[in-house]
Symmetry: D2
Subunit: 160 residues, 4 copies
């Protein structure tokens, strides 16, 4: 009985997907901030990720809406998992956010991140934060900087 056929491109994709998941697991094991905020990484792949956070009462600011810094933290978390997914330690050098609508207690916010550019050691990633009704809450753009030759998890390869 023949084995399922997997062409080279598919194999490479699988490997990149599996690597992204291993990196996520390793990062999550140490990511106390994400845990404390109840952020779940609900999806990850090469250059992409999706993070989810439910707005709790201890996330509200003095006007009874979710603190913009915490919406940014959610988006920044999605950014971190997307830009490290290729297994080289990568940090944020900067970010910008535009707030479109407030988030309220109990809202479930999804932050979806996609790589827009990766050249040399720098990258640009866009994140859209939406609520449970699909309304856009914030647009985020992050700039990443890859540290030289530092893998997140040992994958048996040498790194640049």
């Amino acid at each position: 009985m023949p084995e399922p056929q997997v062409n080279a491109a598919e194999a490479a994709d699988l490997s990149a997907q599996q690597l992204a998941e291993r990196v996520r697991d390793r990062m999550l094991a140490h990511d106390h901030a994400t845990g404390a905020l109840g952020i779940a990484i609900v999806g990850v792949g090469p250059g992409t990720s999706r993070a989810r956070m439910t707005v709790r009462s201890d996330m509200l600011n003095g006007f009874a809406i979710c603190h913009g810094g915490l919406i940014t933290t959610l988006a920044d978390t999605a950014f971190a998992y997307a830009c490290n997914a290729c297994n080289e330690v990568t940090v944020a050098s900067g970010l910008s956010v535009d707030f479109l609508a407030p988030a309220h207690e109990g809202d479930v916010l999804d932050a979806e991140c996609h790589e827009q550019s990766a050249r040399g050691r720098t990258g640009i990633y866009d994140v859209t934060v939406s609520n449970q009704r699909g309304e856009r809450i914030a647009l985020f753009r992050g700039r990443s900087y890859r540290l030289r030759g530092k893998p997140v998890v040992d994958d048996g390869h040498t790194h640049r």
Copy 2:
């Protein structure tokens, strides 16, 4: 014995300072996010504020440094208290941050905010985040939007 002389400009300044402090007290009473992160508002005045946060273990990301989103949250908090200090409800429409150096567990971060511009209903505020050794950790620029005719605390005046 003559009373201390206070000219009109000084009196207006005093009043603005007192108003800024009343707004701070009112906002803090409801600001659950700032409380949960242990952020203290250690100074406030017309168009300025200073917020302080000690980096706790539950603020560290997967690389054992303070989550950039939480550094942003500290800066955004200083921004919120500075831009509301004149007692008209003002929200962030956007922000950008450049990260200069990492912050570690136990570091005491100070975010100092100054108004750069206020025209019509929009404003620009700059925040510098430094650690206990005076090293700059992040530069933040926030854009504010003032809601029409909504005071934070009742000050006996009508508002635009």
Copy 3:
């Protein structure tokens, strides 16, 4: 012989497209900066536009590459035509750009703009600048502010 059927949605689309073109024509007639830089508006529609500029020798900086400010000017032009396309005078309140690759003399740069958000009087627009080989040169994000009740061209309607 029956006339071609056009449903209401298509009719509204046509009208919005025609209005976008009328606004473009009116703006172009007065837009000296765009003319001086040889920028052509090669496409426009509701919330979108495409602007094109060939890098001339008088656009090069001291390092013999296109001045980043002029790449920004191209993107900002696309932004202006997209955010005014619905015929209410709209200005830029701010913008940010990330430069991905240099542009050289003779390069033909295309700036493609799409509306990301429009709420109340503010909007967010993204522009991608690419060269004639389809390589991305810059990513731009603009923030717009709509002036109250000022149409660009008279379209027989009253405005908010």
Copy 4:
């Protein structure tokens, strides 16, 4: 008669100032874009510069105010001369601008740039653009990236 005493720190300062001026001269000789826009570099020093532009009729957009992209170009020019003043070829990786007030034909705009941070190969520079009445027109923040080991002018030193 004794010669004027110059201590080591003053000598180093002089040298840095002279180097900044030599870099400016070398860049200006090739900077066609700055010339075409009539931009003058009216001051330069280590990490600082001041650029000036008079708004011409061919800089006006379709609403008869100076094209925001050209205000950005002026600020970006000040940024370029400030961040190259230490004689290592440095390019912009990104920038953001907030527009505070319009500029009109005949206005004389000054863009004053100061280094805010320089770490490793990256830097942050702030530029304030004001008109001839001292009114603030725009706030600009630029991010720079220094190319490795490339001096702008030969100064007899080796470079990192």
